[in-house]
């Protein structure tokens, strides 16, 4: 790919961050019960079924989206602010948070964090809404610094305690399902937080944390690590990108700078990441020309759970790991089963038609899966299988071939 065409592609992706996603918006939203609806006497609903349908809705959006970078950003923000239905309990609130990421994700990071802090799913997830003026709950105040904005090692336990005081009174109204600040439960005393002193509010705390010296390195290293290859906040690439990001905390400009960074298209970045299971599923469906409707009900959630990444259900506020984290023996088995299922639903006529011509067949599989070039070992294995299947007859050669290709390191890595 020439340099010019890459920069053109990047412009297109970046424009997509603020463009309308016509195809994505057409994905029908399942019925998700809101808190006020559930308060109507006699109203009943199945929260787990709503959750399952929500998973399908999101994956479908990723598969069909006209604005793929924004969908990717939504996933990265779910990884940055991991929140689980397991505790939140309302699919409608998980959906609202997902839309929040889509709407505010490409903008200013401080505004995003403020909205996330007041987001009902987050209020439930990190207990912000349950504490009282004289007994603050530290859960949100701690993760705000450690996971969301700064990273460990840049604040003291006292900052956690003082920060927690500033968020007292931030509550969820269980009649409307809306965030509000309860003045009777808010601590109006003087607090000292990361060196700032005064009657600080929750909003002040978020401003201070997102503008702290440690924040740009943390945010930039996280985003870079999910897009290119894992780095720490001290990595020279991160230092370089952080300077520009620190000026306006603008996520669109950060994403553009990352995609256009020379290291992003360097050999190091090739094969630098194992696709996260959610990305794997979405991209496999996309290249195979499938959508979620083609699969049995509930199978997507089940398969993603087997791979260790059920959407809307991270294991903890620490989210999921990277690379080696996904490469367990169990996952290898689950990928084989998933690949076989996907291949069985795909229309593989063009590959089927090439039966008897192993090398052409293998080239056609590469084109189908959008793999530039097979590694020598993968190529050899695929040709061996294609040749054997040709002689075998009676089986489903194209399906088996595509199954093997889908679990090859070539497709598993970004």
């Amino acid at each position: 790919m020439s340099k010019r065409s890459w920069s053109e592609l990047v412009s297109e992706l970046i424009e997509g961050l603020s463009a309308r996603d016509a195809a994505g918006d057409r994905v029908p939203l399942p019925h998700l019960t809101t808190i006020p609806q559930a308060n109507v006497p006699g109203y009943t609903f199945d929260a787990w079924n709503e959750f399952s349908e929500l998973i399908t809705w999101w994956i479908e959006r990723m598969v069909v989206s006209d604005t793929p970078l924004r969908e990717k950003l939504v996933l990265l923000l779910h990884c940055q602010f991991p929140t689980s239905f397991d505790k939140v309990g309302w699919a409608s609130l998980m959906y609202a948070q997902n839309e929040l990421f889509r709407r505010l994700g490409p903008g200013n990071f401080q505004e995003l964090v403020t909205a996330v802090a007041q987001d009902p799913a987050m209020l439930i997830w990190l207990d912000t809404g349950t504490d009282h003026r004289h007994q603050p709950n530290e859960n949100f105040a701690r993760e705000l610094m450690e996971r969301f904005t700064m990273g460990a090692g840049h604040y003291t336990e006292e900052d956690v305690r003082q920060g927690a005081r500033c968020f007292t009174g931030w509550q969820l109204d269980y009649t409307t399902g809306e965030f509000y600040i309860n003045p009777y439960d808010h601590d109006n005393g003087v607090k000292t937080y990361l060196g700032h002193r005064g009657n600080l509010s929750g909003d002040d705390v978020i401003e201070i944390a997102t503008h702290s010296a440690a924040s740009p390195g943390w945010v930039v290293s996280r985003i870079w690590s999910w897009l290119a290859f894992p780095v720490t906040a001290k990595h020279p690439i991160v230092r370089g990108l952080s300077k520009a990001y620190a000026r306006d905390l603008n996520m669109t400009r950060l994403l553009e700078a990352i995609l256009l960074h020379p290291a992003f298209v360097s050999p190091e970045a090739r094969g630098g990441l194992v696709k996260q299971p959610i990305e794997y599923v979405a991209s496999a469906l996309r290249v195979l020309g499938l959508n979620t409707a083609a699969l049995p009900d509930g199978s997507l959630g089940w398969n993603l759970g087997q791979l260790g990444q059920l959407p809307f259900a991270p294991p903890s506020v620490g989210g999921w790991g990277q690379n080696q984290f996904w490469l367990t023996t169990t996952a290898a088995s689950s990928y084989l089963q998933l690949a076989q299922m996907l291949a069985s639903y795909a229309d593989l006529t063009t590959i089927e038609d090439l039966n008897g011509k192993p090398s052409q067949q293998v080239a056609a599989v590469a084109e189908l899966l959008a793999v530039d070039k097979w590694s020598k070992q993968t190529y050899g294995s695929l040709v061996t299988l294609a040749s054997a299947l040709k002689q075998d007859g009676g089986s489903w050669p194209a399906q088996e071939l595509v199954t093997l290709a889908l679990v090859s390191p070539d497709f598993m890595l970004n």
């Binding site: 504490d131 859960n139 009900d297 089940w302 260790g308 088995s333």
Partner: protein, 423 residues
């Protein structure tokens, strides 16, 4: 708040389970009393050094288990002063006796563990943590799992043992699709098992010929991108471990447990491990784990439910191994990344604290108290318990006496005096 176990949670996403009318899934109520009516178990005590201890089973409780309400200082006035509404009453605790003048008792949900304790098979290790406690879940868990004081970028302690003991993928097996850091070394990592008791679930469905070519595809080779070889290794190890686990689970060496106590996800995981040990797999270290111990709010009911399931799981597991048999003499260690704050917070829960309780259970374990119960009248400046026992002392015992690797200092990066909790 929902605290469904992971297994239920995953199966529910199939859309099969219906919870009509409520988004919040109710927890069982905390019963006023729990009668310890379990039959006394006939036990044969081990004679010192007659049967080697092992395999090791590491059970990690994520979220920060509240040590004070697990092993309860139920007569301590500071305990009642610090957590009004969140104490376990003295008439409910399962009394253990006193240590240094402090009367201690198990949480009433731990009836199975209590009968094991009475049989002399539970080491209760008190005040366990590390110097200068960290209150972040992730940093603290990393410190525990890496056995380093910062937890930064280090490999896991069992992973480092794997690094220096060859390449056999059977040496360590962890249940579940992802691996805890403890099981990840610099060069080697544990294999994983599907969290499903059916043997067929351990292997993919493809035929032998397909898997032969899959093996060719996955074989690591010189000159490949590092991650590509890591993908390959996971596939190669699957072919060996998955087939063996399938055979072991299909053999069903253990009769189904008649107990109707719900042991949830952790019970399921320990059932798998029990089958594999009984079948005779050569594995030396197993991993199981469970989350949701982060009880910042409404702790009383949640914690009861969590401990009750854990207890049923441990009781079922140990029921398979009543006395030491060579290779089937499991040493089960149960720990969390930290304990919780002695003082109740405004949400009827507790925030992150230090200094937790560790249990080591097994037929070859020398039961009793180890370490020292931290004082509730002399908290640290942040209002937390003072640490009395370094967690690496437990690891030293495990490494040297269960995993058979000495000196443990080579893995732990320092000398930690082993705790004598094995017969």
């Amino acid at each position: 708040m929902g605290t469904l176990d992971r297994r239920q949670f995953l199966s529910r996403t199939l859309g099969a389970g219906a919870v009509a009318g409520a988004a919040h899934v109710g927890l069982p109520r905390h019963p006023a009393t729990v009668a310890s009516t379990l039959p006394a178990r006939a036990r044969v005590r081990a004679h010192a050094s007659s049967v080697k201890p092992g395999p090791f089973v590491l059970c990690t409780l994520t979220g920060g288990n509240d040590g004070l309400n697990t092993v309860v200082p139920y007569l301590n006035s500071d305990y009642h002063r610090l957590r009004p509404g969140l104490t376990i009453p003295g008439d409910e605790v399962l009394t253990l006796g006193s240590l240094d003048g402090e009367e201690l008792g198990f949480h009433p949900a731990l009836s199975g563990l209590y009968s094991l304790y009475q049989a002399g098979q539970v080491a209760v290790i008190l005040g366990v943590e590390y110097p200068d406690p960290n209150y972040s879940h992730f940093v603290s868990m990393d410190i525990w799992q890496t056995a380093t004081v910062t937890g930064d970028d280090a490999s896991g302690w069992i992973g480092r043992w794997l690094d220096v003991t060859g390449t056999d993928p059977f040496r360590a097996l962890s249940v579940g699709p992802t691996l805890p850091t403890a099981f990840v070394g610099d060069r080697q990592q544990a294999s994983t098992l599907n969290d499903n008791t059916s043997g067929g679930s351990q292997m993919p469905g493809q035929d032998t010929y397909f898997l032969k070519i899959y093996k060719k595809l996955m074989t690591p080779y010189h000159g490949a991108v590092a991650l590509s070889n890591d993908v390959g290794e996971s596939g190669i190890n699957l072919l060996a471990v998955g087939a063996a686990a399938e055979a072991a689970l299909n053999a069903e060496s253990i009769p189904p447990n008649p107990s109707d106590r719900g042991s949830g996800d952790i019970g399921n995981q320990l059932d798998i491990v029990a089958e594999l040990i009984e079948y005779g797999l050569p594995t030396k270290a197993y991993g199981v784990g469970w989350s949701s111990f982060d009880t910042h709010s409404d702790q009383l009911d949640t914690h009861y439910s969590l401990l009750s399931q854990l207890d049923a799981a441990v009781e079922n597991f140990m029921g398979v191994f009543p006395s030491p048999v060579e290779g089937k003499n499991p040493v089960l260690m149960i720990h969390s990344e930290f304990g919780r704050r002695p003082e109740v917070n405004g949400s009827a829960g507790t925030d992150h604290g230090s200094s937790g309780v560790v249990f080591v259970v097994g037929p070859g374990v020398k039961g009793g108290f180890y370490g020292a119960q931290p004082s509730l009248s002399k908290l640290d400046p942040l209002g937390n318990l003072v640490v009395t026992t370094d967690f690496r002392r437990i690891y030293a015992t495990i490494l040297e006496d269960v995993l058979g690797y000495a000196p443990a200092s080579r893995i732990l990066g320092g000398n930690f005096k082993p705790l004598p909790f094995l017969n």
